[in-house]
């Protein structure tokens, strides 16, 4: 049996490929027609071929269970998600605008705090933020950029509006999977790449290298760039190794580095000590430098912060930039854009309630059943309440937490995440998804063409995390000619 698009029913959700039963969206028309030409067997065979390719390429993520690390094959769905170039250009501009404002904000927070003086942003939020690092105050990195690598999560609601769900500014991961997904998709659907103009994504490692090189404190042709990984027990170790390999940078662990009495950072090599110019660190702030932060950290290197403040080494992302990666701070991003750039936000924030505000808190507590309540500082969906799927007990628990620490919580209406056709057995069924584009900021700004599409493989589920049954898709930004 072949795919019959008139039988595919997203059930009231916005579907990325199909606008109404039997009707593909303009950008997805070639893809939908092509899929229609494949028999169920052929489709299943391609899915298997993709899974085999992933295994062969060794694309894995690490799950820690029963005291052992297990490398799991990266779950991938062969049906791509398609975005029209014209829409993408809007999103891209919105992301650039956002990261520019966020970087201005971080630089301001650690320096003059104009935004506080002008009463646009409350001082209390800074002093109560656990990601604000007093050790960084009074310093400004090159170009005033703190968040060099940002992964923003975008979702589309039922009416088709794209919202920014959060800005991941600490050590966002997933970009290597975006690149691997593309190389698998090219093997699976070479015809479609020939027939259409799909924007490439594999220039990311080169763009990352250029951005990092632009941060080097020494004007050299070949700055020494390293990727600092917490090690193999980190779930994203594959990505750290992959990016290092692609950039031709050394993959180092904390113990490979040493800070000299000259405040320069060196790595231990078989030729002796070798100076390091730029560190793309995938180690969290807390663990970065036992001299400045957590004393018990074995993952970092003593003296890194000192070297950074002395201008002898660049750190990407800069320590302390997590201050802007806080769900309460998130609610102020549209204000930041207006304040720093004097522009209207291009991309919308999800409407949010700040629990610290008495009136808004009252509303949140009265409507817990319809809202998603999120702690300000957690990632990966921890400590969250999804109202519509919650029990009375869970709601009581979160209500108590909100009342005790209102600053730590925000609430948002539950969004009807968009769907896309996904292979389930031998058929296609709608599954919910999100999108994580990656934005690089140095001397200039770069946005990936598309990003990593994550899909909840369980029916009806909204959880896209790979550790919790999520998968991923290739993302096609499609240039169908004409004016973008």
């Amino acid at each position: 049996m072949r795919i019959d698009w008139s039988q595919y029913d997203p059930g009231g959700f916005y579907d990325e490929l199909i606008s109404s039963p039997g009707q593909p969206r303009a950008a997805a028309r070639v893809l939908a027609n092509y899929l229609k030409s494949l028999s169920d067997q052929k489709l299943a065979r391609r899915q298997r071929a993709a899974e085999l390719a992933i295994e062969e390429m060794g694309v894995t993520f690490t799950v820690y269970s029963e005291g052992e690390n297990i490398d799991r094959a990266w779950p991938f769905d062969i049906i791509p998600r398609v975005i029209a170039l014209r829409e993408w250009r809007q999103i891209e501009a919105g992301l650039q605008q956002r990261i520019t404002a966020l970087n201005l904000f971080i630089d301001d927070v650690y320096n003059k705090q104009r935004i506080v003086r002008d009463k646009v942003f409350p001082q209390a939020l800074i002093s109560s933020s656990k990601d604000y690092l007093p050790q960084c105050a009074g310093f400004s990195p090159r170009f005033g950029v703190w968040a060099h690598i940002c992964g923003s999560d975008l979702v589309r609601d039922g009416d088709g509006t794209v919202y920014v769900l959060e800005d991941n500014l600490r050590v966002p991961s997933g970009v290597s999977y975006m690149i691997q997904n593309r190389s698998v998709a090219k093997r699976v659907f070479p015809e479609l790449f020939r027939r259409q103009s799909i924007l490439p994504v594999d220039d990311y490692p080169a763009a990352l290298f250029d951005m990092l090189a632009s941060l080097s404190p020494r004007p050299l042709d070949y700055p020494e760039i390293v990727v600092l990984t917490p090690g193999i027990y980190n779930s994203a170790y594959f990505e750290h190794a992959y990016l290092a390999q692609q950039m031709g940078a050394e993959l180092v662990e904390g113990s490979d580095l040493v800070v000299g009495s000259d405040d320069c950072v060196y790595m231990r090599t078989i030729d002796g000590l070798q100076r390091v110019d730029v560190i793309y660190r995938r180690v969290n702030d807390d663990f970065l430098d036992p001299e400045a932060f957590r004393e018990d950290s074995l993952l970092g290197c003593p003296g890194l912060l000192r070297a950074w403040r002395a201008g002898k080494v660049a750190l990407a992302n800069a320590p302390g930039c997590g201050v802007a990666d806080d769900k309460v701070v998130y609610t102020y991003v549209p204000d930041m854009i207006r304040y720093y750039l004097d522009e209207d936000p291009i991309l919308a924030n999800v409407p949010s309630y700040r629990c610290e505000d008495a009136k808004q808190r009252e509303y949140v507590l009265a409507n817990l059943k319809d809202l998603v309540v999120k702690p300000a500082n957690e990632s990966g969906g921890y400590g969250m309440l999804v109202g519509p799927q919650s029990t009375a007990k869970e709601r009581e628990k979160i209500a108590a937490l909100v009342q005790r620490r209102p600053r730590n919580y925000i609430a948002q209406p539950a969004l009807a995440l968009s769907t896309a056709p996904t292979v389930v057995g031998r058929h296609l069924e709608p599954r919910h998804l999100d999108l994580r584009p990656f934005i690089l900021s140095g001397k200039s700004t770069y946005v990936t063409a598309g990003g990593l599409t994550r899909v909840a493989l369980r029916k009806g589920s909204l959880v896209v995390n790979s550790s919790q049954g999520g998968g991923s898709k290739d993302t096609w930004v499609l240039d169908s000619g004409g004016r973008a």
Binding site: G58, G231, I232, A241, A244, Q245, E250, L251, V252, E253, S255, D256, V258, V259, G260, S261, D262, C264, Y266, M267, R268, T269, I270, D271, G272, L273
Partner: protein
């Protein structure tokens, strides 16, 4: 190249070589035991001594028998020298050098480890033991071949070669030591079996065929020992491995101290007069060589692996 990466590649090679040698040793010993008359003063305890795990074994096993010995040397995760431990360590080292070592090498070691775990887990092993151990040997050789055939012959590969050769020299001297133990034994029966015993020593190192071709003499203790120590062409002869290590060291930076350590070991082996040493001083002599091999390891460790404690002077 990072010191840590160099160190992990060096150990990867040592562990793979050690796993292979241990499997070979177990197989050869079993065959020897089958050949020797009952009551001869050779026991499984000697095999445990060769592996260097004497105290460890005594602490955890009640009796020395074939079953326990095999368990200890093959499947005991608490014995750092067991085949399963070696493969585990090799795998962890490769996992953390994924950006340098060929990706197939990790996969091969991983598969081999899974294979050994499965077989050890399955209850019935007795009869298939020989075939099982031979497979381990073959698959280790395949991994060594994979590294040789796919790694760029740069510094990274030199560390692999050094590790492999140092481990070989170590195993050869350990096996020679078994011979020395029997040389000074007063057991008249054992003396009579000298020929058979030294043939076994050669077999344990896959050296019998090569010995026959190049020495063309009846196997006797001094001649066989001389071959395993002095031959410059046989891959497991001590002098040959030292020559290999020397060649590798020459391609690395700051190699003065390690080269001198190799030079000392070479002189010790080359300038020895076995007729003078045999039989009484042979054990002590083997000990001296092992100390010299340990010195080479120390020199390599200090030169390239050890975290640099001192901070560099300001520029």
């Amino acid at each position: 190249m990072l010191s840590r990466v160099a160190e992990r590649l060096y150990w990867t090679a040592r562990y793979i070589e050690r796993a292979e040698n241990t499997a070979r040793l177990l197989n050869a010993f079993k065959l020897l035991m089958l050949d020797l008359p009952r009551g001869v003063g050779l026991s499984w305890a000697q095999l445990i001594d060769i592996s260097g795990g004497h105290d460890d074994f005594k602490a955890r096993y009640r009796s020395v028998n074939e079953r326990n010995t095999r368990l200890f040397m093959l499947a005991d995760r608490d014995n750092p020298g067991s085949i399963i431990s070696c493969l585990n360590m090799a795998r962890e080292n490769l996992r953390t050098t994924r950006d340098i070592a060929p990706s197939e090498s990790f996969e091969s070691v991983n598969e081999l480890l899974m294979f050994v775990r499965r077989r050890v887990g399955a209850k019935r092993q007795g009869d298939h033991n020989y075939e099982f151990l031979s497979q381990i040997v073959q698959r280790c050789q395949a991994i060594t071949g994979l590294l040789a055939g796919t790694m760029s012959q740069d510094a990274a590969y030199q560390f692999v070669r050094i590790g492999r050769n140092l481990e070989r020299a170590d195993m050869t001297t350990r096996i020679l030591d078994v011979g020395s133990a029997t040389l000074i034994a007063s057991d008249a029966e054992l003396e009579r079996l000298e020929h058979r015993l030294w043939t076994w020593l050669l077999n344990a190192l896959s050296a019998h065929q090569a010995y026959r071709q190049s020495v063309r003499r009846q196997v006797s203790a001094p001649v066989a020992a001389g071959y395993l120590l002095h031959d410059s062409l046989f891959p497991r002869a001590v002098l040959h491995t030292l020559g290999q290590i020397r060649a590798c060291l020459k391609q690395l930076p700051r190699n003065g101290v390690p080269l001198r350590a190799v030079g000392r070991a070479e002189r010790l082996v080359r300038e020895s007069d076995l007729h003078e040493i045999f039989p009484q001083r042979f054990h002590v002599f083997i000990d001296d060589i092992q100390v010299a091999l340990g010195d080479i390891h120390q020199a390599i460790q200090r030169t390239w692996f050890e975290p640099v404690a001192r901070r560099p002077a300001a520029r």
